[in-house]
């Protein structure tokens, strides 16, 4: 085919590109208005995406909720799809936004909802629904016993607001807690206080590193001991900064985390990671495994991990023969200021997605309401160290009874689990959340990443210095594109030509150069062929 034809084809293609780009425009979605009545004769199919903690009891609660709800509203069927982690749910929702095939109801985090909200009318705002007389929380037309708005725990409801609008309903709440091997602490000559300080925990951890002559640890006589393991490094950095009132981010999405305070915290972590007194989940493994085997003193995990902690834990990953007997106590996370404890509030929330059929959205909302009704709240909360999100549930006689029977058995009434949820109940007013904006999830990961990197560097015996921290901050900024999220992202993109790194410059020069050479060689060949033909 002649070269001219190729060129014209290429030209045509490049010209049509801008036209085609119109295909990627946004689909218009309608807003939602609450219908007057719920149409009980219309068949409605809902899709519910839930997170599955690999705890079969929790899956059973969901199934029971679906079955019961379908009995109450026979025209509605619900399909549940279980996911192993929030990240996957997030990915799939994003993919499905573009094809308008989002689920109806979804267990999610406000951080993620902030991203979904960048499209128009993707997630349904809930304020109107919550306070609606007929269909709102505990409304007149709701066919089951649902909590009224004032019966929801106010702190938890606040967390689900993005800006001034509520976009989610809290489903379960948890916080982080220390699971402490009390015997070990006392063996080291200390007493476990009501509220631990960071200094205390570092001190005790370092003391625990003493070894015998044969290399085993004095504390447990084993070859392995990591005194302090923190599962979620994201929360670690965030909590430390919050306790010091140090900058992390602002409500409107400014990234403020790269400060001297952050650096000082990282340096402290480095010291203890270097002596191996401290480690993280990503580096070592799940804290519960070490704790239960007598290889850890302070295991820090969510209260929703309580059933994995302790000598008699109902859920365990390690073999019975490895479990060591000890007394476990539950405490709030370490504090800088024990008089004013602060701990993070976390746990799944539920949101509903906008659909064209208002009845469908209404049915989704009713199912969400069902999820915060007492039976479900109690059922799910009792599977782990969760706290129900309604006062109606947590102050009910049934729940009080459940709590009072702590220690009766090592499954439903496992004492550590109940201790953990009671800890959250006692400290509900001390909990906090971080500002939610598009990209807040990235910032959170970045915070955790810094702790991980510092820990890994400590283990590799890399030295830290000014350059180290400048590089760390830069790496993390590019890794999570922190200079484009939130406020920074919304400001006009900086179009000043950033210097292209050497490698890409080389690439940009090499490829055209190669093609020029190829072109030249072809031309020479052509000339040779023509000469041959002529001869």
């Amino acid at each position: 085919m002649s070269r001219r034809k190729i060129l014209s084809l290429a030209l045509a293609l490049t010209l049509t590109l801008p036209l085609l780009s119109a295909c990627h425009g946004s689909r218009t979605r309608q807003g939602f208005t609450i219908p007057d009545t719920f149409d009980g004769s219309k068949t409605i199919n809902l899709v519910f995406w839930a997170k599955n903690d690999t705890n079969k009891n929790q899956t059973a609660v969901y199934r029971q909720a679906i079955d019961d709800f379908q009995k109450i509203y026979p025209n509605v069927t619900i399909d549940m799809r279980l996911y192993a982690d929030y990240g996957r749910i997030y990915q799939d929702v994003i993919t499905n936004i573009s094809t308008d095939t989002t689920p109806n109801i979804c267990i999610t985090y406000p951080d993620h909802i902030a991203t979904y909200l960048t499209g128009d009318n993707v997630v349904t705002p809930l304020d109107g629904l919550i306070h609606d007389e007929k269909f709102g929380l505990g409304g007149t037309e709701v066919r089951f016993d649902a909590p009224k708005p004032e019966e929801m725990v106010p702190e938890f409801m606040e967390e689900c607001k993005i800006g001034e609008t509520t976009y989610a309903i809290p489903f379960m709440r948890s916080t982080e807690a220390l699971y402490i091997n009390q015997d070990f602490v006392e063996k080291l000559g200390y007493k476990v206080p009501d509220i631990l300080t960071w200094d205390f925990i570092w001190e005790v951890s370092e003391k625990a590193m003493e070894k015998n002559e044969d290399g085993t640890f004095k504390l447990n006589g084993q070859n392995v001991l990591i005194p302090f393991i923190y599962k979620s490094t994201d929360n670690m950095m965030i909590s430390m900064l919050k306790q010091l009132n140090a900058p992390y981010s602002s409500e409107d999405g400014e990234v403020l985390i790269f400060t001297d305070t952050t650096r000082a915290l990282l340096e402290e972590i480095y010291t203890h990671a270097k002596s191996r007194a401290f480690s993280t989940f990503a580096v070592s493994s799940y804290p519960g495994n070490f704790l239960n085997a007598g290889q850890c003193v302070f295991a820090l995990d969510s209260t929703a991990g309580a059933t994995w902690m302790g000598s008699k834990a109902p859920m365990m990953d390690i073999h019975k023969e490895q479990v060591v007997d000890f007394t476990t106590v539950v405490r709030p996370i370490p504090q800088f200021n024990p008089d004013h404890p602060q701990m993070i509030s976390q746990g799944p929330s539920v949101c509903i997605f906008q659909k064209t059929d208002a009845q469908e959205v209404l049915a989704s909302w009713l199912f969400v309401q069902y999820l915060v009704s007492n039976d479900i709240q109690l059922g799910y909360a009792e599977t782990e160290g969760y706290l129900p999100v309604t006062l109606k549930a947590s102050e009910s006689a049934e729940y009080r009874d459940y709590v009072s029977r702590k220690g009766e058995d090592n499954s439903e009434h496992y004492n550590i689990k109940i201790d953990a949820s009671e800890l959250l109940r006692a400290h509900t007013a001390d909990t906090f959340t971080t500002p939610v904006f598009n990209g807040s999830a990235s910032l959170r990961s970045a915070a955790g990443q810094m702790v991980e990197n510092v820990t890994k560097s400590a283990r590799r015996k890399e030295a830290i210095s000014d350059e180290y921290f400048t590089k760390l901050f830069n790496d993390v900024t590019s890794l999570y594109r922190l200079d484009q999220i939130g406020k920074a992202g919304e400001e006009a993109a900086d179009t000043s030509m950033k210097e292209l790194p050497g490698e890409t410059k080389a690439l940009l020069i090499a490829i055209p150069a190669i093609w020029i050479v190829i072109g030249a060689v072809q031309l020479v060949q052509l000339k040779k062929n023509r000469k041959k033909k002529e001869n």
Partner: protein, 281 residues
């Protein structure tokens, strides 16, 4: 003669050593996999230092693999998917390779170059658009949705074309003189001659379909349409609280067995050197 025998024996021995060393390197991970599948879940987790053997082997993992997830159903789905995709692929690529190798037509080199360039597109790129397409055609959770995007593989068109091209022109001219149509020539002469390659391609495609993971995961969420790879992931994620590696290994072993059997059955066909001499004399 003595020297020749010695040196050839030595070189034979060296060859064997070389082959054995690599064979061991290849085998070791499998040995590990089978070993793990026979280990008790609890004892697997307690092995601080990985053991090369197990004191009490158990078949429990195999039972778990089939009960934790409907592995049997997934196997059936995978078979349907594989057979359909491979069959369709043959119908598509054999004529295409023939066109490139044998038929003169305008734009042949350009079109071939375009095909080749498509080969360089990584799947991760096309996957999102294909997802949108399949959703728009309402083909999620269907066999068609699984099969259609997986049918064509340019790698195999290319390979087959090379093989077709290697068949001497004289055979073609002879057939033409006899008045054979192109289609008959293709089916009666070229395909049988390149049978080793075609069987190889079929087997490679079967394996590709068998292990396919990303695409099925994306477009199916109805368990009735899951493939075995989804099944393995399920076992990995839902196994009794944490990653049940032994059960996962058991599932993997089970899933690999049909493929090994397939290879063993067809090995002779692949290795059979069909003499290309048709123009002797």
């Amino acid at each position: 003669m003595e020297m020749n025998k010695k040196s050839s024996r030595l070189s034979k021995a060296l060859i064997y050593v070389f082959l054995t060393v690599w064979a061991l390197i290849v085998l070791f991970p499998f040995y590990w996999m089978i070993l793990t599948s026979l280990k008790d879940f609890a004892s697997y987790n307690t092995e601080y230092i990985p053991k090369f053997y197990t004191t009490n082997p158990t078949l429990q993992n195999y039972r778990d693999a089939f009960t934790a997830v409907p592995l049997g159903r997934y196997l059936l789905n995978t078979v349907i998917f594989t057979v359909a995709t491979t069959g369709l692929m043959m119908i598509v690529i054999i004529p295409a390779a023939f066109a490139f190798a044998r038929l003169e037509f305008r734009g042949r080199s350009l079109v071939f170059a375009l095909f080749l360039s498509l080969m360089m597109i990584p799947t991760e790129l096309v996957i999102i658009t294909n997802y949108v397409t399949i959703v728009n055609w309402n083909m999620r959770n269907t066999y068609l949705g699984l099969i259609l995007p997986s049918v064509t593989s340019i790698f195999y068109i290319y390979l087959l074309k090379e093989n077709f091209e290697a068949i001497p022109d004289e055979l073609y001219s002879a057939a033409k003189v006899d008045g054979t149509s192109d289609l008959k020539y293709l089916l009666r002469v070229m395909v049988p001659i390149t049978q080793p390659t075609i069987v190889t391609i079929a087997i490679l495609k079967v394996i590709e379909c068998w292990n396919s993971y990303v695409w099925p995961r994306l477009i199916t969420y109805d368990k009735n349409y899951f493939l075995v790879s989804n099944g393995i992931q399920e076992i990995r994620e839902n196994g009794f609280g944490k990653e049940n590696i032994p059960a996962m290994m058991a599932a993997v072993v089970v899933i690999s067995v049909p493929l090994i059997v397939l290879f063993l059955v067809f090995r002779k066909k692949i290795m059979a050197g069909v003499s290309r001499g048709g123009t002797k004399g």
